[in-house]
Amino acid sequence: MIRRKAVSMASLLTLSVALLLSSCGGKEEVVIEDDVKQESQFEGVTEIKYGDYEIGKSGGQLVMAVVSDPKTLNDAVAGESSSTDITYQLYSYLVQRNQQDLDWAPMASESWSFSEDQKTITHKIRKGMKWSDGTDLNAKDFVFAYNHVILREDVESNSRDGMFVNDLPVEVKLIDDYTLSITADTVYAGMLSISNVHPYPRHIFGPLIGWTEADGYDYEFEVVDGEVVEKKDENIDYAAINSFWGVDTDVTTIVGNGPFIITEYVPSQKAVLKRNPHYFEKDAKGNQLPYLDELVMLIVADQDTQLAKFQSGETNFYRLRGEDYAILIDKKEDLGFDIYNVGPVTSTQFIVMNQKPDATDVSEAVLSWSSNKQFRTAMAHVVDRQTIINNIAYGFGYPQYSFVPKMSPYYWDDADNKAAKYDPEKAKKILDELGWIDNDGDGIREDDKGNKISLRMTTNAGNRVREAIGELFAQEARKVGVEVNFQPEDFNTMVGKLLSGNDWDIILIGLTGSVDPISGSNVYRSQGNLHMMDPNQVEPRRDWEKRADEAWKVANNTTDENQRKEGWQTLQEIWVEELPWIYTFNAASMHAYDAKLGNIQPRPVSELDEFGIIQYLYWK
């Protein structure tokens, strides 16, 4: 009896001690390794050769994995990538950027021309195009798409706001069966971005909403009190488009003009797309595209399971995470695939300091530091991009100095040289010169009024990359005598603070980007709601903001490419000089393709990577 008691006591004790020790994890410090191999980061990774597409042969099936189910199969209202991954394959646009030089290339539009005053672009639509159900396709379907789908406020479309120039919608007119024109209120550089639109089948959507040819193709509106008020027809119900072609639809009724059509969708399992026999595009020899017969998208929620499926040969394509490189690189020859470095992603990731003059819950001291350009420059010298890339992105990243993606024609090449680099000694020097030294020996400097230099920093909790960057920044800042208290918090709370400009000192955040930074009109202009250091300004408060707003106009109120490049360069120069925020890094996008696939020329822009080339992929 006593022996039994002793044994049970001993085991209980051991168990509790084990539990105690294991829970004593504590907060992990980011360890900076000294022996990091930098030059072999991209070893074994194939560089992509951009050039003319090879002539391929038709046949075969491409199997890939996607992370979640689409929420809708209607491209008009698809809002996130799980839906657009599928719906993007079904349509072909007026114009599209080609992979080789990222210039706008004619697709459904055969050619275009600008008017004398540069405000109107006229497209000539290709003849002989058909929808996947055999119905003829012409300019009427495009004008219908603009005026009766995208511009209508009852349709929950993400593209609507992109169709506004100077807060007025563009005017899209049907000139004849194969010609349409788009007119903007002023000369606008984004006319081709606005032309990046695909048609909707008016023979299906028309009856759905109660529209007939007699109702016409125009979008009518009036401006009341500065607001655009749409003229609505009582009989037409645009809201019906929102729930049309949802996930429970019979997929064979979905009509498109793109390279593929959906033949099957099994929720949480897979989506199967087959070649669209009526797709208009042909290769250089006149062969019908796409080469692939079938595209199968398996829905696999867990990334590790996706990796397992790729290795077992169940899928032919895989998007690598940094940690997958080590696992896959040795198996290349055995399993028969290649890893391609597609390049730096277009999204931005930056550290912004609050400079809003009347921000509530932000101390005067913090505002005095953040509005001090020397201080911001010193903080820029504290961002250790290389360590971030090595430790967080497993070496697969590029330092970021500008909001323009590196591959974009508008990238200011000198940004790499002129931007502030990691230099803690310089940071210390700048702070010394400001007279902000540590008087009381606690390791933290005080400013000239005696305030301890201490700022709060936050980012959205749960994002491993951002949390690590924040920790590193706080560590490095401490080394130069600035106290940064880093505390990640809930995404929605953080966004609320960010947009109101109140109750935050430093935030680490990121935004999506694109090849043409014109999409950032809410970000870089002082009046924008996403001009995070001081949003929604009525008039630009700072001299450099006045210059930036001017540079924005120069870059975008013209269709002259050279003038645009000038404008963007000025804007990037201002950003590097004035440092309203500090960019950190871009992850490198790496894809693995089966070695027997040909014509692999992806670009890391969301609609141009593996999908931009999908009609040219073929099995050798």
Partner: protein, 374 residues
């Protein structure tokens, strides 16, 4: 009078079949048609069998209404407390005008106070409009019914497995107390209680995949399920169900076995059991005819709760094993603050919980003659 009653009851079964066929022909899923028709027809039959029971059920169903209403109100209130809403993600999209987001919020009533939203919802629900999922852009009712069938398949199989194994295990454990069989069952039970369900699912997936993938990992059907005949489809479904059902069942079995064992032990130590043995009854009769019937009472109450719990507890397991069920739908809705989806799922689970309790009470009345529905 008696003869007529029996005749009516027998005839009503014909009506059953006719109604089921009719519903299937109009396009409802066979599962839903059977459930609805049977529920309605049995309520009708109760009128002849036992009016008292019908009254009891009627009262309980009426009780359900204030319960559901309060849960929904609490749901609206709590979601309001969480910072932001489903459109907050959109505000960081540089391509979207903030005015557009305000317009969306107004369309869905998200800019109104929680009680206003609540009354609007109740009013719509009376017209059988359970709201619109902003994420999926379809009616919540359709979404939930689509996924509910999948979760119920999992739930029913789990319940059959768990109860089918744990009752005998509990009895065996009690009758062979402290012997080697009991020790093994007890250890297994404690293990099952200690492991979190999703962790057990991960462990199992790892184990299966590293010993040659003899079971499919995740999902509900194989990729080529359409080429299979009905028999192969059944096998395919069972193979896919194996991991989630095993994980869910073992969790339940652990607690059920322990409780059953405790109940049995308590009963077996009673005086009347000793009397029965003294009277010369076989051990088998003593255990199965006398002890078991008393020990099973508390279990029936637990059975009522299981209905509601299986739905909630399966969310994590569904997420890990990629089972397309209601749990994962609810989880998604909560994470993205898809208001009407969350409230719709709440209504569904509360209804299920109440009905489960109702079934438990009726069963109790059937099993235990001392408890009569009054």
């Amino acid at each position: 009078m008696n003869k007529n009653k029996d005749l009516y009851i027998r005839l009503s079964f014909v009506a059953d079949i006719l109604l089921i066929v009719f519903l299937i022909l109009t396009g409802t899923s066979w599962f839903l048609s059977i459930v609805v028709v049977e529920a309605v027809m049995w309520l009708i039959r109760l009128y002849w069998i036992s009016r008292v029971l019908l009254l009891f059920i009627g009262k309980r169903l009426l009780h359900m209404i204030p319960i559901i209403l309060s849960v929904v109100a609490i749901g609206f209130f709590l979601i309001q407390l969480a910072p932001g809403d489903i459109f907050t993600q959109m505000t960081l999209n540089p391509n979207v005008n903030p005015d557009t987001i305000d317009r969306y919020r107004a369309t869905f009533g998200l800019d109104k106070a929680w009680y206003v939203q609540f009354f609007r919802y109740v009013w719509n629900a009376l017209h059988l409009d359970f709201g619109y999922s902003i994420n999926y852009k379809t009616a919540v009712f359709n979404l939930v019914s689509q996924r509910a069938g999948n979760t119920l398949t999992l739930a029913i199989t789990t319940i059959i497995l768990a109860w089918g194994l744990s009752i005998p295990a509990g009895i065996y454990s009690a009758t062979h107390q402290y012997r080697i069989g009991d020790q093994i069952i007890t250890v297994l039970a404690f293990l099952g209680l200690a492991l979190p369900s999703f962790f057990a699912a991960f462990l199992l997936i790892y184990f299966v995949s590293s010993t040659g993938s003899w079971l499919p990992i995740g999902g509900m059907w194989s990729v080529d399920v359409d080429q299979m005949n009905i028999f192969q489809k059944g096998i395919d479904l069972l193979r896919h169900m194996a991991i989630p059902v095993f994980v869910l069942a073992t969790r339940n079995m652990a607690s059920l076995t322990r409780i059953m064992r405790a109940n049995m032990l308590e009963i077996m130590s009673q005086q009347y059991i000793t009397t029965a043995r003294a009277k010369g009854l076989t051990e088998k009769t003593v255990v199965y005819k006398h002890a078991l019937r008393n020990a099973i009472n508390p279990m029936i109450t637990i059975f009522g709760y299981q209905f509601g719990y299986i739905l909630g507890g399966s969310a994590l397991v569904e997420a890990v094993t990629a089972w397309p069920g209601l749990g994962s739908l609810m989880l998604q809705g909560i994470m993205s603050q898809d208001l009407y989806l969350v409230v719709g799922s709440l209504v569904y689970s509360v209804a299920l919980l109440v009905i489960g309790n109702l079934i438990a009470d009726i069963l109790l009345g059937v099993v235990d003659p001392r408890v009569r529905i009054s």
